[in-house]
Symmetry: C2
Subunit: 406 residues, 2 copies
């Protein structure tokens, strides 16, 4: 199993395109991913009660459609809080893609990201779909154009791919994602599209995805705001030629491992590129009684504004980490907690058994100077562990969200 | 019932003092509140699993002590995550006050606020207690000195008092509080001390306080970080001479109303003076099925970094309010939600039945220019309502928490 260059066009039989249509002021704003043959589709979506029209559409398709063959995405407008008109616009977007690709409308997932409460500029979208379809290509570059077209306040595009072997066949899994703000996924992140040429039953594809997000996209937070548009979909078109995976055998777990490799990478990229972020913060809690406890504790730490400000300030105010563990809702003994910080610049124990260790503040500041900072917590209550990813809280987060209008 | 000038020294029989002892670099750092006769004491404290030594002490006293007569508070060091040594230092602080005032040690509440994980400079504290006791006075000015001595990153001191009549006797209730950062109380705020000359049973005093905080201190948030030191205590010394309140009669509810007046005012002052804040944000959710639903929804909105940044930017990006309602965990119909913003500069409907109203962005920006901004939400599911208070998220919040070392 190895990571390769590329994204959604890395597996066999996938084409992509990304163009500028005029929804946003300048940057690319429409993307399309297409499987040349019918594929199984699975997805996980926001748990926010307020769901965008494309999210409702994709939930319906995930339940009812046998095959999915395309994913159309626009950035700039989220098509959330848009009522009946928003639902019709979303349908028209899917239908126009379907007509141009000679598919059923119910084979087209949709996703939108951007400002909430505004109607889609549907004429611009419909008029640009033929151009978008015309630019579909199998190249790595085409995948990158698509990854760029789904960005909002992201500062770079996010792609990842991995190859692995199943039943003697080489299988590839690729993906792209966008994040940045309103990132505290409760089912999946803002928008991510995964593609694979694996042959697998729709049911197992969904199960693998649902299980995977618990450990990856659901373990990141930029600002504790769970979006109205969170969407993670995967297409599996079978073109690798492996015998179809129909049960939880060794092949299934090989696929789960590959899936985890891609989604972990994308999750970390989303956290590192959180709005205004200068650093990726990785928090691992060890010694918990259950995985759920460890996950709750680690998410509580990466979500704390005070911890996030401390990371930005390179200040080893470790009491804030203990404080965030303490209000997570998980019961533990504060007087057993060990706390270590770590980066490429070294490793340093800050607290042992809940008490300050006599450490060098200078060394702590040096460790915090790296782009990726790890906080390792051991609560010594059991043997479960979990890792969560977040970022620092900076002046630029405030600037972006006080000024950003579309 | 009317609000009067003053704080903890407003009721009969209370003295206070605030001095600079040298725990902090420059500003006052030790405060004492003293009742000249034994008083009933009640308190509510942080729900954080990590509890500071003074919090554990006060919880013990609230359960076991018949009378409380003094509250000693230091700022600069929180005495949290300090283990056995922290517990001993805290006891010594109470004991020294008790000796100087000729009280039992178990009649002295303690509170500490400041950096977590550092031991108290106990020599400085013990050596300065005689001076602190020597400066105890019944004046309004003495109350203000105490209110100033408990501040950390607060930009102004917070006091409030109210008089009311019970059984033909004039009763007074006064209070002081400090807040600013790590404010997302789950039982009470960082530190608040209330005093009254009312005569009331200890049980009813506790019940009134526990019920009251649900609607006041527990309805504010600065940064979603529930502190290790949250402490709200009240002393009632009976010097007003009213017949002791022993049941939930009209007098009890008169007291509850007065209590609510003082705690609401202090809560709003804490929210308005949140770290870096330029504005008080008040969010009221109407039309909920239950008070609990309304409270959860309104707290979700005031806690959202995206809503807080929007208020700072004076940008009517109302979709963020709907998004925060949507992930609160309360079920409602997004297509029924009305949303109005309001301040001294006017009132404006932004959304009706979950959809954008065609409003003037300029007028919205004008309304947001006030120091106090209200967001009124109607979800039209029932008749319950709740109000929560927060503040905007600003560059200065990040600055304070990236730089602050003690």
């Amino acid at each position: 199993m190895k990571i390769i260059d590329g994204g959604v066009t890395a597996p066999k039989g996938y084409k992509a395109a990304g163009i500028y249509a005029g929804i946003k002021k300048k940057r690319k704003d429409m993307a399309l991913v297409y499987s040349v043959v019918p594929a199984s589709g699975a997805g996980v979506f926001t748990t926010n009660v307020v769901k965008a029209a494309p999210v409702k559409w994709d939930i319906k398709l995930t339940k009812e459609s046998k095959n999915i063959q395309a994913v159309i995405i626009n950035s700039g407008v989220a098509n959330a809080c848009t009522g009946e008109e928003g639902w019709k616009n979303n349908y028209l977007m899917a239908k126009t893609v379907a007509e141009n690709l000679n598919l059923s409308t119910e084979a087209v997932y949709t996703a939108s990201t951007g400002v909430i409460g505004k109607q889609l500029p549907i004429d611009i979208i419909v008029n640009n779909i033929p151009k978008l379809v015309g630019e579909l290509k199998e190249t790595k570059e085409a995948g990158t154009l698509a990854a760029e077209a789904i960005m909002t306040t992201d500062t770079y595009s996010k792609e990842c791919a991995v190859t692995f072997s199943i039943g003697g066949k080489e299988v590839t899994l690729g993906g792209m994602a966008k994040g940045s703000g309103m990132i505290h996924p409760n089912m999946a992140t803002m928008i991510a599209v995964l593609t694979t040429d694996l042959s697998i039953s729709k049911e197992l594809l969904q199960e693998a995805l649902s299980e995977d997000v618990k450990h990856t996209f659901n373990m990141i937070s930029v600002d504790r705001d769970t979006s109205t548009n969170d969407t993670l979909v995967i297409l599996a078109n079978g073109m690798a030629g492996n015998p179809e995976i129909k049960e939880k055998n060794e092949d299934y777990y090989t696929f789960c491992k590959a899936l985890n490799m891609v989604t972990t990478k994308l999750s970390k990229m989303l956290a590192a590129d959180g709005e205004g972020a200068t650093k990726l913060l990785e928090v691992t809690v060890n010694g918990a009684k259950t995985w759920e406890d460890a996950a709750t504790l680690s998410k509580s730490v990466i979500s704390s504004n005070l911890v996030k400000s401390m990371i930005f300030g390179k200040d080893a105010n470790w009491g804030r980490v203990l404080c965030a563990l303490g209000y997570s809702g998980v019961d533990f003994d504060p007087e057993k907690v060990d706390l270590v910080i770590e980066s490429t610049y070294g490793s340093l124990m800050l607290a042992k058994d809940g008490l300050a260790v006599d450490y060098s503040e200078e060394k702590a500041t040096d460790i915090f100077a790296a782009d990726e900072v790890k906080v390792l917590v051991d609560i010594k209550q059991g043997s479960a562990a979990a890792t969560a990813w977040g970022c620092d809280l900076t002046y630029d987060y405030v600037k972006i969200n006080a000024d950003y209008r579309s």
